[in-house]
């Protein structure tokens, strides 16, 4: 172990008695196993500039693909003239829908079994949709060529909002589906009759409209690929920005007809994904088709505007929530109606049996007897979606709904929002808990998390400060927002959850080499989560190896076992479980070899986790490490055992995992400007056992930043003509280092009882849990004046309008002190 790569746990960490790992305790966990802060193994290539992202790949004879896109949101394509482009020396080919149709590639399936044109033949359905592709010898020439493709359009009236798409007279987006309206599906959950009855009987009911705006995951690396058809081997290799390389291989094979053993997907270093890189996009198919036709490698890499304007958006749920309760705040029922905009194609990326994803988790952390919900989804002339942006399939929308409704109920009852939550939490004795919408929550202790959160932020003092400011008529109001969310992550089980029919299991293969170190190949795919470190830690823990002696490989379908990929926080719950189980299979075989080596019966060999070795029962000095056993497995294998020491596991989880958290956001709202300043953000996450606390905290920081972006800045907007008006980083605003405050992280540990290492996953919790905390805080600051809701993003102008309507706004002019003598000033005129 090198001191350069491994660090001693810091003092604070050692003192921890919070149920998390405590390396100071004498149990031998100092090999970089579970719970240790191991610095990341993958970092060196990134900090030296030697990462290998898709756009870094250069191949002999490689061509560049530029896509010609429609300036209109809704238009018939009258003609496409490619002549001027084709005359350019550098342009090798111009592809249109006709060319793709010749290879049966004119359309592709979306992950929700809709059909999307790869290149438009008849009718454009959203702005920037793909119409033609120019393949040229260099990036600039490809752009020049695209400028020279002449497309004639006959424009049609677009329908841009779901609300308008409902109208009988609305333009029809999808005539190709043989329907005369824009309706996609109506989904329903829960017991409507019982819920309505509960509402009728309830002394207190609250209703609130809220719009979860259209977002884009916007990883800093856009989508792209290098497709390379090898005519000699008849093999297609695609290096692509993929969160799910194996699923993409299957889809590529299904779409192209190329046998799956002749398709290789390599996902090299991926510059962030957040759900954006789960679907297949037309650009990938065009590049592959071009490579096939031209027999040369073809690169396609999006510009930022193409990324935001055409690849899958997230959210866009227009929700009406209702909550019913007793006078002392016991929630008896919750109901929600959602109007969902899916854009021009139903291109959500979620298990196929869940058209509204896992939205039915909207009862949250609360024991609510009656629940009912509907989602009505519509096509519009906007980009297709909506995918799960750092989210398990609409859990983000569900958590926002319930956490906002609980706050609204507290306001109606004039109760403290913390008390309403406490009163309605699913008690810790109730786990496993069956929710009224049909989930089985694995484990939780919500009250402990809330208590710790309130104590940490000194909640009572904050409430006093809030009242003091109101009493003093301060220019800045204080708001305290809570979010005590429950997540649902780690899909499968395979029988419930699939992607394009493939069950959502995941896999790991461990090979222990003759010299005692190990290579682990996993089916999940990192986009920055640090799998090369955390998965090595799991194996180090299970096999008593040093983390430095374990190498993790991922992202190449030719070598890795089949997996469904990384999204919806499923890597640790599913892939991590597969890795632990594969390691235990290795250990099982190692035990048999140990018995042969130690010349005792197998039942007399015991595994000692402290030393990371087997020893003879009652004789700890007669021991063998996995390193030693590995040698024996290749060089002195027992007569009744196969040589070698390796195992593979395909893990189908018995249930999802249910991480949770208690977040507190403290804001100051400026009554003059409407500006919201996040003074403090406290995030307590319980993701069960933590494999690497440093990485867990990093995930929380990043997710909270995204949640703050959601709450304060981000919105993919359209005008009435269907033009994207926030389609680049000048208008789609990502938070910078100036908007994100220092985030205070904290944790409790409630292991998942069905997971081999008690872990639950954490990546998406902060993105899911933080937006309602921020909105609740802003509403909280103004609730004394009757404000019950502010829609996201809470830009200063929007907040100022709410302040103004509530009579809280201060006219900036009132506070201005003019030094200018008015008479003198006018004299100057």
């Amino acid at each position: 172990m090198s001191s350069e790569t491994r660090d001693k746990p810091d003092a604070k960490y050692r003192e921890d008695e919070d149920g998390g790992p405590n390396p100071e305790k004498d149990c031998g966990h100092d090999r970089g196993g579970m719970g240790e802060e191991v610095k990341r193994k993958e970092d060196r290539r990134f900090i030296t500039g030697r990462g290998n992202y898709v756009d870094d790949i250069k191949k002999e004879g490689m061509l560049h693909c530029e896509i010609v896109r429609s300036p209109h949101a809704h238009a018939n394509v009258e003609s496409i003239n490619t002549e001027r482009a084709e005359k350019m020396d550098e342009v090798v080919a111009v592809l249109t829908a006709e060319d793709l149709a010749a290879h049966d590639l004119a359309t592709m399936p979306t992950l929700m079994d809709d059909t999307q044109e790869v290149l438009v033949r008849d009718k454009v359905k959203f702005q920037s949709q793909e119409v033609a592709a120019v393949i040229a010898t260099d990036r600039y020439a490809a752009k020049d060529g695209a400028e020279r493709v002449e497309v004639e359009y006959d424009t049609l009236d677009p329908v841009v909002e779901a609300e308008k798409a409902k109208d009988e007279d609305a333009p029809v987006v999808r005539e190709d589906l043989d329907q005369d309206d824009n309706h996609i599906f109506t989904w329903e959950t829960g017991d409507e009759e019982a819920t309505e009855e509960a509402f009728e009987e309830a002394p207190v009911t609250v209703e609130e409209d809220m719009y979860y705006q259209r977002l884009h995951p916007a990883p800093i690396e856009t989508c792209g690929c290098v497709a390379d058809w090898d005519q000699d081997d008849e093999k297609m290799t695609v290096h692509m920005t993929s969160q799910a390389p194996h699923a993409h291989r299957t889809l590529f094979s299904m779409v192209s007809g190329i046998p799956e053993n002749k398709v290789r997907i390599v996902s090299p270093d991926v510059g962030g994904g957040f759900g954006n890189k789960v679907p297949i996009y037309p650009g990938y198919v065009v590049a592959a088709a071009a490579s096939y036709v031209l027999e040369r490698p073809v690169k396609w890499v999006e510009e930022r505007s193409e990324n935001i304007q055409t690849t899958s958006f997230a959210r866009d749920y227009d929700m009406t929530g209702r909550i019913a309760a007793t006078e002392d705040g016991e929630i008896t029922a919750v109901d929600v109606d959602v109007l969902a905009d899916h854009g021009a194609y139903n291109a959500a990326a979620q298990p196929s049996k869940f058209p509204a994803g896992f939205f039915k988790i909207f009862t949250g952390s609360y024991d609510i007897e009656h629940a009912h919900g509907t989602v009505d989804a519509y096509y519009t002339n906007t980009a297709p979606g909506g995918i799960a942006y750092r989210c398990s399939f609409r859990v983000t929308e569900a958590v926002y709904l319930i956490e906002r409704m609980v706050k609204a109920l507290a306001q109606e009852l004039d109760m403290d929002p913390a008390e309403v939550r406490r009163k309605n939490f699913i008690p810790k004795e109730a786990f496993p808990y069956e929710s009224s919408t049909g989930w089985t929550y694995d484990s939780g202790d919500y009250e402990r998390a809330l208590d710790k959160a309130l104590e940490s932020v000194d909640y009572d003092e904050l409430r006093e400060e809030q009242q003091r400011r109101i009493a003093n008529d301060d220019d800045k109001l204080l708001g305290i927002g809570l979010s005590t969310f429950t997540e649902i992550v780690g899909a499968g089980p395979g029988k419930q959850c699939d992607i394009a029919g493939v069950e959502m299991f995941d896999s790991a293969e461990i090979r222990v080499h003759p010299t005692g170190n190990a290579t682990v190949r996993i089916g999940v795919q990192t986009q920055g989560q640090g799998h090369e470190t955390t998965f090595a830690q799991i194996v180090a823990e299970e096999l008593g190896l040093d983390v430095e002696d374990v190498t993790v490989e991922h992202g190449d379908t030719d070598t890795e076992p089949y997996g469904l990929g990384t999204y919806a926080s499923r890597s640790t719950p599913v892939g991590g479980a597969a890795t632990a189980v594969a390691a235990r299979k290795v250990r099982e075989k190692a035990k048999s070899i140990a018995s042969n080596e130690l010349e005792v019966a197998e039942e007399d060999v015991v595994w000692d986790r402290q030393s990371g070795a087997f020893h003879v029962k009652g004789a700890p000095d007669r021991s063998l490490t996995i390193e030693e056993i590995a040698g024996a497995s290749y060089m002195n294998s027992p007569p009744d055992e196969e040589p070698g020491l390796e195992a593979v596991d395909y893990y189908d989880p018995p249930n999802m995992t249910f991480p949770f958290g208690a977040y507190v956001c403290v804001v100051e709202v400026d009554r003059e400007t409407g500006e919201v300043d996040i003074r403090n953000f406290y995030a307590l996450d319980d993701c069960g056992n933590r494999i690497n606390p440093m990485i867990v905290e990093g995930q929380v920081h990043g997710g909270v930043a995204q949640g703050i972006g959601t709450a304060m800045l981000e919105h993919v907007t359209y005008d009435d003509e269907g033009n994207v008006t926030a389609g680049d980083f000048m208008n789609y605003l990502l938070p910078t280092s100036m908007e994100i405050p220092e985030i205070e992280t904290d944790y409790t540990v409630t292991p998942s009882p069905h997971h081999p290492i008690g872990a639950k996953g954490v990546g998406e919790s902060p993105t899911v849990g933080s937006p309602p905390a921020v909105v609740n805080a802003v509403v909280d600051a103004m609730e004394h004046a009757g404000v019950t809701h502010v829609d996201m993003p809470m830009t200063p102008d929007r907040v100022w309008e709410v302040l103004d309507d509530a009579g809280l706004a201060i006219d900036p002019a009132e506070n201005m002190e003019f030094d200018i003598d008015v008479e003198d000033a006018s004299a100057d005129d």
């Binding site: 149920g19 998390g20 579970m34 089980p493 990043g702 990502l734 985030i743 409630t750």
Partner: protein, 212 residues
């Protein structure tokens, strides 16, 4: 299109290039010189993934034509290991690079080279910046993974090393400890040690999915 001859000194090596006048500096660096550590994230100068250090300043190379850089001295992330300050910390790398690793200042790594170059420009000008100054200096570099918190710590780490102070060993923070018995619910003890640090049952057999 007519090409123009230019000379760029990158990471100490002089390169003669023929480029179209419209060619962006970032493409000259990435595609003509194969230095792919400098990235492209937005095309509009907002994200800063393309930041290089040019003639004493952090410059967004996607907003600069290669011909504008004619005669310039440029450092990209690939040149940081050869910087005179490299090796000041515990590794052979520049303290800024080391700080990013030690403080977990990167996740996907895509914005990291631009962040490192912005940090270098800051520390050249202001060797011991405050947190606010660090935040302001990287406000032209977008990161979607880290929430910036550990990037700030990474740059503070570098400032510590370069100012002869002992940098922190870890970015990990915890709140106050809760009641110690709390961890035992939902799981079973893992190792035979009475005082084990973890709460995991390693012999646990998962119940299996519906079809197992």
């Amino acid at each position: 299109m007519t090409k123009k001859e230019i000379s760029l000194t990158i990471n100490g090596t002089e390169h003669e290039l023929e480029v179209e006048p419209r060619k962006l500096l970032v493409h000259a660096i990435r595609e003509d010189l194969d230095l792919t550590g400098t990235h492209i994230g937005c095309d509009t100068g907002n994200c800063g993934a393309c930041t290089v250090y040019m003639d004493g300043q952090a410059v967004k190379s996607c907003l600069t034509f290669a011909v504008q850089a004619d005669g310039s001295e440029i450092t990209t992330v690939e040149g940081m290991e050869d910087h005179p300050d490299a090796g000041m910390g515990e590794s052979d790398l520049h303290p800024i690079q080391e700080g990013f690793r030690e403080m977990h200042g990167l996740q996907c790594g895509y914005c990291t080279p631009g962040m490192i170059m912005s940090a270098r420009a800051l520390l050249e000008e202001n060797p011991d910046p405050t947190e606010e100054e660090i935040r302001e200096s990287i406000s032209g570099n977008l990161c979607r993974c880290t929430g910036y918190q550990n990037i700030v710590k990474a740059i503070q780490y570098a400032a510590d090393v370069m100012n002869g102070r002992e940098p922190p060993e870890s970015p990990v923070e915890h709140g106050e400890a809760a009641e110690p018995e709390a961890a035992s619910d939902g799981g079973t003890p893992m190792c035979e040690a009475d005082d084990c640090c973890m709460d995991v049952d390693t012999d646990f057999e998962p119940p299996g999915g519906d079809h197992k």
